[in-house]
Symmetry: C2
Subunit: 306 residues, 2 copies
Amino acid sequence: MAASKCSRLSGELSRRFLASVDTVLFDCDGVLWRGDEVVPGAPELVTGLRRSGKRVFYLTNNSTKTRAMYADKLGRLGFGADPGDVFGTAYCTARYLRDVARLQGKVYLIGGTALSQELEAAGIPHVGSGPEPVTGGMKEWAALEKDPDVRAVVVGFDEHFSYMKLTRALQYLRDSDCLFIATNTDTRLPLEGGRAIPGTGCLVRAVETAAHRKAQVIGKPNSFLYDCVVKECGLDPARTVMVGDRLDTDIQMGSTCGIRTLLTLTGFSSLEDAKSYQESGTLSMVPDFYVDSVADLLPALASADQ
Amino acid sequence: MAASKCSRLSGELSRRFLASVDTVLFDCDGVLWRGDEVVPGAPELVTGLRRSGKRVFYLTNNSTKTRAMYADKLGRLGFGADPGDVFGTAYCTARYLRDVARLQGKVYLIGGTALSQELEAAGIPHVGSGPEPVTGGMKEWAALEKDPDVRAVVVGFDEHFSYMKLTRALQYLRDSDCLFIATNTDTRLPLEGGRAIPGTGCLVRAVETAAHRKAQVIGKPNSFLYDCVVKECGLDPARTVMVGDRLDTDIQMGSTCGIRTLLTLTGFSSLEDAKSYQESGTLSMVPDFYVDSVADLLPALASADQ
């Protein structure tokens, strides 16, 4: 179907769009919910897409939940999903280390319970979880005992992130053979009512600054989450759409992967942001389509069902 | 005196150089010592400079010591100094807030005891010192109770830096009227034997990433430490030299302030680094002179004394 970039999806265009799609990849935070507050109509849309034979997958940069935890939350909020439909960075980081990097050794983990559980499920030993108290002084911090089996540092969301963890990561990363992986680089995690807390990107920048190295990033805008969907489930790129609220992650990833992109305005990025990328010619961050909310697709879905 | 950039100081050139200098500004870490290990000959040089009538000041980005603590360390390592000779970022940050920003209100401090004491000495109330335990979950972190009197966030070296402190800093910095000050942005603190621990720059980058704002930096390469020396003690820029081990802080600051610069190779930057800035035309990071160690000036000083 021919369409200029950044068109509002409504009416006949919505119906033609839905008819051209078999697989819908949804970002979660800011698209389907904010914190624990569902975007009104989103569960009905997802359920309706499934009922009309489309496949739905969830691609999220959030590393604080395992596949099973995400399936639980999706179910609780009325979406319904199998763990196998969820491609979060906790799961995909473990998959990357096991199947792509073929890590022989341990991970030094800056991350929470979900990352820890996904690493365990993938059979990857790791150290570093939980709080690490401050002990000693500068000399002791510079000479922290290292686990000789650590071959990778992984940085995800960690509410116990601390100077001691940063110091330990630096000691491992001074060895240039030590892998350096970040789940994602989102700067903030948006919550209900416009509130926000610092995102994993803040922790990643701190470690990168200490290590004088850049992390390899598993999450969007990189394509690894998408690659995992393709490998595990298969899809036709020409009949797939990525739906997200962030131009610099969701839309950029969709562009990189050669699939269509749909921006929803219930989250991080605004239509003005998209227009300004369009004017400056940064087209990889301009969505093919936009909607105010994913619920705007409900009428087209209903008419297609009839 | 005429000299091409980046000349080795030795022999007759050293003698002429010393004769042209009244005031010597020394960086400390990597120049006079590494950790608690003195650079051999450095105390004799500093003592000799003083004996021959030159004034010596210490300009350090390190925020972990008050003026008094620095004077103690200088004395213990054989340099001898009055607190008033020391222009560290703990002291100068407090001075900036009191005399330049004329802060009316409290500081939310990410920093250690020295910063806390210098703020107190300047009569600036502050909150945030010490460890902050993790309590609650994401919703609670997004709604942390704020002190309504806080008007500035200051980030210095803090071994208790944590996700909770980062979160609190973000809540304050979302108010665009809240000042955002960093003591310095050094990425690592070099210690004895080539060891290093993460520097304040890592913490600053984390907070900047969360806040979507850049901090105003008190330390080198900015000129504020130098401005404080000028204001409190006076100096003739034409007869002053900045001696440091880092091109991007010490030498850059000297260039900005229009004084001569001397790189010593006992610390962070190498002669190759300086030559490569020279070749690329980044002349503000090329020192006028270099020495392997500040002790290389001892013979010229001795012959001038005769």
